[in-house]
């Protein structure tokens, strides 16, 4: 039941930001909403309610690493799309491995200190 609730809240908030992005012009500005804190807002609010602020605080700190990885991922996708021959679906989905590698790399780096 808790997972179903998480699924609905997450789906709703992500869709909301996506719809705002769809309506905005120019495209480069609408793109900001592709990096909206939608998952973070859904997860953090539910986490604060179920696990408390200290737990959510730790998640927010780690999110900084995930967001840096997102920046590298977005730049990678931009390069692939502007210079390469890959379609948007192929470029953005294959780029997820870059996000994962960077996020894990940053996490291991910070954890090792």
């Amino acid at each position: 039941m808790q997972f179903l609730f998480r699924f609905i809240v997450g789906g709703f908030i992500v869709s909301l930001f996506a719809v705002i992005g769809d309506m905005l012009k120019p495209k480069s500005f609408a793109g900001l909403f592709g990096a909206a804190p939608s998952i973070a807002l859904a997860t953090l609010s539910l986490t604060i309610l179920s696990n408390g602020k200290v737990y959510a605080d730790l998640e927010a700190r780690s999110m900084i690493g995930g967001a840096i990885a997102f920046f590298i991922y977005a730049c990678f996708c931009m390069r692939l799309l502007a210079k390469g021959r890959l379609s948007a679906a192929k470029a953005t989905l294959s780029g997820l491995t870059v996000w994962l590698a960077c996020a894990l790399g940053i996490w291991l780096l910070v954890r090792g200190r």
Binding site: V14, S15, T43, L58, A82
Partner: protein, 148 residues
């Protein structure tokens, strides 16, 4: 360049395109919770910045731009891909805002109430993203005045 809301853009989006994004968002939120439960909040927190909307929205932008060109009788075009690249450029600016969002939540959450912390952090995300977008746009216009 002026920032505008184009409500007619919503009519061009099919119901399953909304459904895909709802599914992406829901699944990512559930997975983030599961990862935090299994490996701890420090690991699960990374996934709060998972690119959940971006692949679907970039694909949609490409598809719609291609469609526009095809309606005009142009079938071989890279316009869709370039529009998706612009979307990625915006997402890169937004991701710097995302770093600011996470930093603000981390710093405020222990002392403030949860709703205020998330509200301030979201406002900081929007302000920082817009500022970076504006600066990059102005810089691009200085370097490429004809294309600006």
């Amino acid at each position: 360049m002026k920032i505008e809301f184009d409500f007619s853009a919503l009519k061009k989006i099919k119901w399953y395109e909304y459904a895909v994004r709802f599914l992406f968002g829901g699944v990512t939120t559930v997975l983030t919770g599961l990862l935090a439960k299994r490996y701890g909040p420090a690991f699960g927190g990374l996934f709060l910045a998972f690119p959940a909307i971006f692949p679907a929205s970039a694909t949609l932008v490409e598809k719609h731009e291609k469609g526009k060109k095809q309606e005009a009788g142009i079938f071989k075009t890279n316009r869709g891909r370039l529009a998706a690249a612009l979307d990625a450029r915006g997402a890169a600016s937004g991701s710097i805002g995302l770093v600011c969002f996470a930093f603000v939540v981390w710093k405020l959450l222990s002392g403030w109430n949860a709703a205020s912390s998330l509200f301030v952090a979201s406002s900081v995300w929007l302000a920082a993203s817009m500022l970076i977008w504006r600066v990059r746009k102005d810089r691009h216009q200085v370097i490429h005045p004809k294309t600006g």
